[in-house]
Amino acid sequence: MNPAISQAPLQPLASEPDYLRSAQTLGSWLLTTDHKRIGILYMISITLLFFIGGVAAALLRLELASPAGDLVASATYNKLFTIHGVIMVWFFLIPSVPTVLGNFLLPLMIGARDVAFPRLNLASWYIFMFGACFTVFAIVAGGVDTGWTFYTPYSSTYANGAVIAMAAGVFITGFASIATGLNFIVTIHKMRAPGLTWFRLPLFVWTLYTTSLILVLATPVLAITLFLMALERLFGVGIFDPALGGDPILFQHLFWFYSHPAVYIMILPGMGVTSEIIACFARKRIFGYRFVAYASIAIAVLGFLVWGHHMFVSGQSVYAGAVFSLLSFLVAVPSAIKVFNWTATLYKGSITFDTPMLYALGFIGLFTVGGLTGLFVAALAVDVHLTDTYFVIAHFHYVMVGGMVMAYLGGIHFWWPKISGRLYPEFPARISALTIFAGFNLTFFPQFVLGMLGMPRRYHVYPDEFQLLNVLSSAGASILAVGYILPLAYLLWSLRYGKRAPANPWRATGLEWTTPSPPPTHNFAVTPTVNEPPYAYETLDEPSRDYV
């Protein structure tokens, strides 16, 4: 390998063993404060949870293959989409990139030996698992049928099942989110290596920073809202209770004050991953680096001003609706900036199509479609027709599954050599990336049409004329399932049989690549100093320095 290919010189091969081998006991994993091991703990947990959410999705799609509601009972169907939504949002997608890749990479990327509060970091994983246990308990103890939105008065008075346990699970997990966000903010402010100024940070770090802002500022509101809902259910009275003049719309305000910003928790880190991958595989500095960085901040801040767009027909004031609609259009602008800048980065690049790049390109395409359909539902009069239909389902699966899950998988592949010290097999990886892309579109594109035709969401039985499109969607889902199981299989395989990875297999810039693969426990033997802008691919690839 070329020793001179990165901003900082390669770290000396430390006498210290790498983080995977430094200690092997179970205790050394369960009590670790090493950010890399905590990242791995999170990775294992959320993968398991993803498959729980995925099985629920598979059952949903199986049921919807026929209009009659013959596979499961209505009550079961309702529990399935609640489980699916709750698990996928809070126990998979929100933690996905931040807690796995973020935990693993953030200190490495900024030249730090760990995050600012390693014990808090471990605590956050335990809190997360504790919350997950509550949620799984709620599922086993009869499930919950409120939908992931927990709207009152249904959830507080009428719903079936272990609503309080489920809410407690989400509530508890919220504190894991807060801990992670707090840790990242302090780490990014206080622990950057000498010379690593804000505008030398990789864009992934920028997105982790803005994501953390949202985690810290929004999550407490979700916590208190669910707490109030649970109290109301427990005592039979509460602040949302219409019998006392309580307003169910106040619940919606508070819920979406969190949950809209939360959807940006579920996209910003994916945007960061995409920026890293695009730059590396186009061998170019990200076009308009500063604009892309500022766009992340704009999304995080503006994202707090638009929550009412989920409530256009809820009985909210029409004037408030208009303000929220306007702001929703405004928050789309920074996303547009990002998409255009990624595209411009490709211009005059030197592009290769390794698996991470396939995922990144997939991300751009699918996020764009998802984002643009966000405009349909942000437009007041159009949302009146489309809200609570499959159009919305398709919109958010495009951004969340087509966007964030793609980015997560892209990131996992990109940094797999660093994480595991092994190379994954390229051919099956490309096949599965393409499978996921194809399966995804087949699953969710028909849902746009269904929505336009007026098929409401959360429907267990539906009129016959919607069947054709639903069958297509279900067929797509089975392809998608295969696409998701493949990476699980070959990544596990590579742990044992994969080729050993060099320190920097992609010849990428960034401090994480100056450490050996896998990195030693304390990351850097000598604290690196940075004196270059990020993504210095052009200088890196200059022929004079390219003596491979």
Partner: protein, 215 residues
């Protein structure tokens, strides 16, 4: 473990960075607490705007003497902690312990007064739910007031209870620690938390006790 270096965790370069990081982290945590309580204050605002008379009427039934005493208790307790933090920086461990424990004791007193108040309210039938009864005109709005009263002061009391435990813990730890200097930052952070709890009460007090007192 060499002497001064032992105070610094491996991920930090120096003690200053470590302390700044901890303080910054604590303020971020307080910021989350602002939003946690903020949502409740928002609820209060919305319902008070909808039921102004009922809230006036209901608030006249809270125990203003108890509320005022409790305000004074928390303020004094906050003062003790502020002085303790200052003395901790100078290494006066005996007095730090004394002040922290006094503050904790005052916190416990606050909780005792609160418990008395709750008991009183429950006996008067103000606890929302089946047992609630209120003879006056708009009992619906009054009940909503007491839903907010119990939730908000209850959540606050929970914070006080946690604070009492933390202050007691550090009070004892400072006295017993091998190197009390290690605890300076921790005491500082505990202090920040305690002052925050005080501030929340400073706003709860007028909203629940002082409303509707004027003739």
């Amino acid at each position: 473990m060499s002497e001064p270096a032992a105070e610094i965790a491996h991920q930090f370069a120096d003690a200053g960075q470590q302390r700044d990081a901890a303080t910054f982290g604590m303020w971020i945590f307080l910021c989350t607490e602002v939003l946690l309580f903020g949502a409740l204050f928002l609820g209060y605002t919305v319902y008070r705007l909808q039921n102004p008379e009922a809230f006036d009427e209901a608030a006249a039934h809270t125990l203003i003497v108890a509320g005022s005493i409790n305000t004074a208790i928390l303020l004094v307790s906050s003062f003790c902690v502020a002085v303790a933090v200052h003395l901790a920086e100078q290494g006066d461990r005996l007095r730090v312990t004394l002040l922290l424990c006094t503050a904790a004791l005052l916190g416990a007193l606050f909780l005792a007064v609160k418990a008395y108040e709750y008991n009183h309210k429950i006996h008067e039938g103000f606890f929302p739910g089946h047992s609630f009864h209120f003879a006056g005109a708009d009992s619906r709005g009054v009940e909503m007031f007491f839903v907010l009263y119990f939730t908000m002061t209850g959540l606050h009391a929970l914070h006080v209870a946690i604070g009492v435990a933390v202050l007691t813990g550090y009070g004892v730890a400072v006295l017993l620690a091998q190197r009390p200097a290690r605890l300076t930052t921790a005491v500082d952070l505990a202090g920040l938390y305690w002052h925050f709890v005080d501030i929340v009460w400073v706003f709860l007090f007028p909203l629940f006790y002082l409303v509707g007192r004027a003739p």
